[in-house]
Symmetry: C2
Subunit: 417 residues, 2 copies
């Protein structure tokens, strides 16, 4: 089926064609934050579209589009989201509406974009077998790299929701206790790292005492975004036994601005790797929950910026071979009766592949600094230096399928506190 | 100084005399939740007191008392709280106001009490040396019971804020993966436990990138409450390496309804035990941050209830010898630049003493079931059984100091999901 083009132009290769329509929270100059949908290099303000009476009969009150988070919209659930998506495609392909909605369209670059959801609880998993194996080798060289439980449950922990920050927020180098010459000493981390992750966000909430089965996961997962779980490896290594990561991670986690719906990602579902040994019944997927996404990490040093150089790609990895998938992660997190709320964020854990160049963190890519990265300026990196800018990107499609993207999440290391 | 008695009667031994004045969120029958202060067996509705024009010129808008959490009030900061507290003591000792405020007074038992704050982030520490030593012996019998980092930092992790529940909420026995005959198997926990803890709540928020020093902790800590961090020990034991506790804890955490201010607790400050080796500079306390509280755990089985028996005390422990104190916990959690928000909850970790009968959890009291507790009915308990009701209590004072209390937090095990 050939679809008429949108009246908002979509440049070739844009991550945000008409079949994507990711939702975000933006503030145009002088305006309060509200709900936008990205189309090409522009964004459509849904508060204005709703005020024009074009979003009626969808089961969602117009006020939700004036909100400073997607939570009220997400709480309306998946089918409302699908209806709204269909309506927006109608609107954007009806050229007679272009003039009427001219005020609703803003260049994306003019928007100040926030974290799209107000996150009640943020959970971070550890679901790439390549990453878990690499970290096991680095942190516990004398043990099996994979903990005994790793293939039986999607290991995860709660992160700090209060320090989730929007893309572009400067990341201050944290201080903490780490071993220096074998003794604990307090100071700025010397091992500041990134973690390339994909997060999923909860739409319809669940109730306490009612687990979300893998079969029902689609009713509660609204969409995907990119997450950079900044990590101070030396602080983390010193603190993590026995309660897991805490201040080595809690200083900042960056979240991409555009939430890409499961509906948009439907064509890119694919089978996850076979799990061996078989997992417990309640963790068994009932359909394909891997997503055929490509992810990459770009790095730009201060010297590169000064020389007018483009950011350099330091990693490229597929998301489809994650060992544990979102349905399993959600089923695990709720099997004990815990509830989820609209806007809760669950991140995949670092996405790493099996080969050189597909590592989702510097500690893996440089093997804790043993093999530093070389930048085009001749600089080397074991970990992040002040002034470094990190950009994560993700996209799906190509070949015979439309190209859609998760966009970017970026952050620049902004000195020590 | 002799203070005139309050016109709301305070029965002898009440945890809530005029010098306590803890704040909570209650709903009288047919009313929306709003802010109350507890006095004896009654509570004073501050929305009504504010509507009578008696809470003006305090730097706090009357609307904050109509809110369903203490967060807006707490955000106003410590000095506002102190002024409000002084005003309330004036009001409650002015007998001419008794008639005018008659509508503001309700029997405490008539109120439906909530978790007093909306918790953005919930952090749980591990700050009792006796508890950490006991758990180390139980979980890691072949290692030093205290992890190498334990005396150098107040170990903590983030818990799930979305499953914090008010006192009285039934606790459903969670299911999870745990080892059965050495193999992971999914089912209801067979090791459901309580954890006796004291939490502190954030008043004035802090900013990203600005650590809260131990000296400034008083500006950000509003008060204390009781916390029962329910734990599924078998699930926890199987999952906790390497990311710490997750679904073994996240099903429910009970919080007491009345937040006791630091001002009320001022007379009960005392010196914490000496820390050896000395801690890093940023963790050094600048004043006494231990609190001379007694805590106890009461248990009542279904059979005891049926027989009309009173709950039996299974543990009694002092809070004053916690190794790490709230100022140090807050300094540690923010030294990396992480911010705190009004309403954030930081729990002490299980409070256990050095002697038999002072354990803050059943796994310690029964040594993982090796020495079961005996109840007055002749029943025994290794861990909690369905129908068991657990009550935590805490209080300060006695002798020449006034008796004030944290009140209670309770929960009954309500069957499996």
């Amino acid at each position: 089926m050939r679809r008429s083009p949108a009246w908002i132009p979509v440049p070739p290769g844009s991550p945000f064609p008409l079949v994507n329509l990711p939702f975000g929270i933006g503030a145009a100059p002088g305006d309060e934050p509200s709900v936008y949908v990205a189309v090409g290099d522009h964004a459509l303000g849904l508060a204005t579209v709703a005020a024009a009476g074009l979003l009626e009969d969808l089961g969602v009150a117009p006020e939700v589009f004036q909100h400073d988070s997607l939570n009220p919209y997400l709480a309306a659930g998946r089918s409302t989201g699908a209806r709204l998506r269909a309506r927006l495609i109608e609107i954007l392909t009806d050229p007679t509406l272009a003039d009427r909605l001219a005020d609703a369209v803003v260049p994306r670059d003019d928007l100040t974009l926030g974290v799209p959801v107000e996150v009640g609880d943020y959970v971070d998993f550890y679901s790439s077998i390549h990453h878990a194996t690499n970290l096991g080798r680095l942190f516990r060289p004398d043990d099996d790299p994979l903990p005994a439980n790793w293939r039986h449950l999607p290991a995860g922990y709660h992160g700090r929701s209060g320090t989730l920050v929007p893309s572009g927020t400067p990341i201050t180098r944290p201080r903490g206790l780490r071993l220096v010459d074998g003794q604990p000493a307090f100071g700025p981390t010397e091992a500041l790292d990134l973690e390339l992750e994909v997060g999923f966000v909860i739409g319809a909430p669940s109730s306490v005492g009612t687990p979300v089965s893998t079969a029902d996961a689609s009713d509660h997962i609204a969409g995907l975004c990119l997450v950079n779980d900044w990590s101070a490896r030396d602080v983390q290594a010193y603190e993590y036994v026995p309660l897991g990561p805490f201040v080595g991670k809690s200083f900042a986690t960056s979240v991409s601005p555009w939430l890409v719906s499961l509906d948009a990602l439907e064509p890119y579902r694919t089978a996850a790797p076979r799990q061996d040994p078989p997992v417990a019944d309640h963790l068994r997927s009932t359909r394909d929950w891997a997503f055929d996404l490509r992810l990459q990490v770009l790095l730009e040093s201060e010297a590169m910026r000064a020389a007018g150089m483009e950011p350099v790609r330091i990693s490229c990895v597929g998301f489809a071979d994650m060992y544990w998938t979102p349905d399993q992660q959600l089923a695990h997190a709720t099997a004990n009766g815990a509830s989820v709320r609209s806007g809760d964020l669950f991140a995949s854990g670092t996405v790493s592949g099996p080969t050189r160049g597909s590592e989702g963190s510097l500690i893996e890519a440089t093997w804790r600094g043993e093999c530093p990265l070389e930048l085009p300026t001749g600089e080397t990196r074991a970990f992040l230096a002040d002034g470094d800018r990190v950009i994560l990107e993700g996209w799906a499609g190509g070949d015979h399928r439309p190209l859609i993207g998760l966009g970017q999440v970026s952050g620049t290391i902004g000195g020590s506190i």
